[in-house]
Symmetry: C2
């Protein structure tokens, strides 16, 4: 390479590098992450309420499948990213109700999150059969994993 064009190449590299950085979307703010995770739990509550109403009352197989699939997809969606460092405190739709321990006890959090995903995936499978009693039993197991995490990592209202 000729010496004379070295500065140009170096300058271009800087420009290209700056351009690449500009293309990267900025990381979401902590408040946005908190709002998103609070939203996820509301969607889970919607699905949970629908499944509960179906197993305790008139059963609609298709509605339960939709609610169970949505729950499983959310359980598998990488929710941990919504609990990034910096989101220990703060306000999304409302002040976060997460306990500080969630950010320090990764092993236990991972176990509980794994249980949640496991039972949610199983519920999606069972829902596909349309067996109301089996869905009710599996929904009970899934609800248990929700409660386990709330007990340990959610502040009381």
């Amino acid at each position: 390479m000729k010496k004379s064009i070295k500065p140009l190449v170096a300058a271009l590299a800087v420009v290209v590098s700056a351009s690449a950085l500009a293309q990267q979307a900025p990381a979401p703010k902590p408040e946005t992450l908190i709002k998103w995770r609070q939203s996820v739990y509301q969607v889970l509550a919607w699905n949970s309420g629908r499944i509960k109403a179906n197993v305790e009352g008139t059963y609609n197989k298709d509605e339960v499948i939709r609610a169970a699939n949505s729950t499983a997809a959310l359980a598998n969606s990488g929710l941990g990213a919504l609990f990034a460092p910096g989101t220990e405190q703060g306000k999304g739709w409302h002040d976060t109700t997460v306990k500080p321990e969630l950010f320090t006890d990764g092993k236990h959090v991972g176990e509980l999150a794994g249980n949640f995903a496991k039972e949610a995936n199983e519920l999606a499978k069972v829902a596909a059969t349309g067996d109301q009693a089996a869905v009710k039993a599996q929904f009970g197991k899934l609800s248990g994993t929700c409660k386990a995490c709330h007990d340990d990592f959610k502040k009381k209202d």
Copy 2:
């Protein structure tokens, strides 16, 4: 049936009927439905932001799959139920931004919702291939269906 037990049978029927009603979960309040639908759109925004960051920057196949699957499951989850009669106005997390036309132009709403689900399901398929360019193109199509619905049925901020 003997005449004498008719009143008892009738009374039992009332009791059973009341019991069945008591088992049915009460219908969610309009404000709750609005909060849930606003939450769904926030979760979609989270997923959309993740996919955008991946197709425009460093690509993580697994993260895109998770986000695309979650989006598809939500698109298929029966969102129409969150726009039940009685939710034309009201406050969930904030005042609803839905236009009144959404509740009267069912045919057009159905078309737009169908397009959204179609492109979201296709994105989930394409995401599974890990082809960044193909995901980017399909994500563009999906985003177009979001915009189409916002243009027609979401009040401007």
